[in-house]
């Protein structure tokens, strides 16, 4: 009864995830610090951050696999501390490491999940899912023998089988080829179009840009969130794109100069960024006259913003 009312309240507010002040430590090391996040129902929410930044821990807290040391939150309107059982019925969690049974076939794995969730006809549900994820013809193959891309499809199939309302995907496309990644994202968009909320963690910038909203987390702190445009605008980063040839020398000369916070090569061009626009321009003025290079003010890319955020967070949080 209580669960139903909170659920109704959350639906009214339109939030699938509403977490406030989550913290979690392991052996005295704080992995997640005072993290708050709101995810709208039906949206695809990208969760970005370097390795070891607390993404997996946060996702595990949200689906009841870890208990936060402090903080409150609801997932689909259910309290993440008290209603873990109810959350598990409505949330599909795809782990970072393949965690289905390697010594069970594709069909057997899916039937296991279907039975566990009490689906009326496990065999048919598994068959339908095999068709949906395009594993027809491989249903009797052992899961452990599948290639990375197929494993990941199977894992997605397994966690969407019980028709969850929220999907938590922990780096689902790590180590998967570009074609399989694209198909995977098309599937995620199709699921979102059906009304599913998807929280997906990733390292890939192109994937971040496929999300409705993103959050950036480093060293357990949520550093930025919003739409891609909002995050870029919020970074207050000024960027120049340099084209031309031979900027090996230019790179070394610019990095470390006051006003230049980041120099990064992007294929045949160089991105030079700074948080203080005036200082950046002062720093690059001497080089702009050189005709070898062509300087053009540009929007910082998402990657520029993240690398800058990461660099700043290193200064703030990483000691020793």
């Amino acid at each position: 009864m209580n669960g139903a009312t909170t659920s109704a309240a959350a639906s009214a507010s339109g939030l699938a995830i509403d977490a406030r002040g989550l913290s979690k430590s392991f052996n005295g090391r704080e992995v997640v610090h005072d993290l708050s996040m709101q995810v709208k129902r039906g949206s695809i929410y990208g969760f970005l951050g370097p390795n070891g930044s607390g993404k997996t821990t946060t996702i595990r807290i949200l689906c009841g696999l870890l208990t936060p040391d402090s903080g409150e939150g609801t997932c689909l309107g259910y309290d993440i501390r008290r209603d873990a059982d109810k959350i598990k019925r409505k949330v599909g969690y795809m782990t970072q490491r393949f965690s289905l049974y390697q010594d069970l076939s594709v069909r057997e794995n899916l039937e296991f999940v279907a039975r566990l969730y009490g689906l009326p006809d496990a065999r048919r549900a598994a068959g339908d899912m095999i068709a949906r994820i395009g594993l027809k013809g491989r249903e009797e193959q052992l899961a452990g023998e599948l290639s990375g891309g197929w494993k990941q499809r199977l894992a997605l199939g397994a966690c969407t089988l019980p028709s969850p309302q929220l999907l938590l995907l922990d780096e689902p496309t790590a180590g998967v080829d570009p074609k399989a990644r694209r198909d995977f994202w098309n599937e995620i968009h199709a699921l979102a179009a059906e009304g599913l909320t998807v929280l997906v963690s990733t390292h890939y910038m192109d994937e971040a840009e496929r999300c409705h909203e993103i959050a950036y987390i480093a060293y357990g702190h949520l550093l930025a969130h919003g739409t891609v445009d909002e995050v870029i605008a919020g970074s207050n980063l000024s960027t120049y794109t340099v084209t031309g040839d031979d900027f090996n020398g230019l790179m070394t000369e610019l990095s470390g100069k006051p006003g230049v916070d980041m120099v990064a090569p992007f294929g045949t061009s160089l991105h030079v960024s700074g948080r203080d626009k005036a200082a950046l321009e002062a720093a690059i003025t001497p080089y702009r006259s050189n005709t070898k290079w062509h300087w053009q003010p540009s929007e910082p890319s998402l990657e520029d913003v993240f690398i800058d955020l990461m660099g700043r967070s290193t200064d703030n949080f990483q000691r020793g």
Partner: protein, 387 residues
Amino acid sequence: MSASDTIPTRETREPHFGFWRRSYAMLVKEFIQLRRDRVSFAMIIMLPVMQLTLFGYAINTTPRNLPTAVLTQEDTDLGRSILKAMQNTAYFRFVREVHTVAEFDELLQSGKVLFGVEIPRGFERAVRRGDKPALLVAADATDPVAAGSALGALGPLVQTALAHDLHIGDPPEMPFEIRAHARYNPAAESRLNIVPGLVGTILTMTMLIFTALSVTREIERGTMESLLSMPIKPVEVMFGKIIPYVIVGFVQATLIIGIGVFLFGVPIIGSLTLLALLTTLFITTNLAIGYTFSTIVQNQLQAMQLSMMFFLPSILLSGFMFPFAGMPVWAQYLGEGLPLTHFVRIVRAIMLKGAAMENLQYDTLALAALMLLAMTIAVTRFRRTLD
């Protein structure tokens, strides 16, 4: 150019020290890993200490103070003297005095006593008359080792003690005859004793390992994370993991008992249904204990080691290999906590003595209690989160 020169030079030198250097690298790595594995480290200390203690202090192949019942049909000085003389041999310890044959038989059949001494009516008068009456000593010979040495001591030792007690000097011969009756296994064949016990020992070993690995395997293969994120309760996981092996264990038990009966000629005197039922209970108890181990340890190696730690005292203290009644009290208490102890009694009683349920209530209840205890620990220990 110079760099490409130095590389082949190093390669030609390498074989001289390569073998030792690589072995050394491996050795250092193994030591580091061993040092981190606290449980293995503890095992290195615990196993020999445990073995030495058990073998050195608990095990006694010429057991003394064996529980004995007396069926007294007359109360005379001579009778009391004989009993006292028997007790003085230190092999017998009189624990019960009964007055009917039915009670006497029940005590032997249920295994509460290993010996029964019957002093018949009119015994003293017959001795005085010089009739050389018989004093009946019934022994539970299912375990020939336990019964053997005591029976062997019976004649000469009792005679010496009696001669002293009756003040009759050195009698040229015994004024009565001691008639020893080795019940249930008259020919003292050790296979009759070993095969039923082996049923329990083999089942303990296999069942324990099946489930001891079950939870750790899920953790090591990473499947636990998925499993925990799905709506399944610890009790459900436990039953799902135990029940298939109950069937496996049952098949195994059938095989061992079948071989015992058809190849070694071990009888099944009691009820086959009762044997099947109590064997199933024993299998389930072991699976529950193995499963409990699985929820305690961190990896499969530790699970195997813990199973070993449990298996070893099970063999030594259960009465399977060495007479239970001959062990010191502390070891007997330890033994009572092991399922194999109870099952060895049950299986021997049913197969060799034809015991029925009413003879086996205590051991059955003990098995059930151990099973419930293990299951309770397992369910509470099972971690529902990854904290």
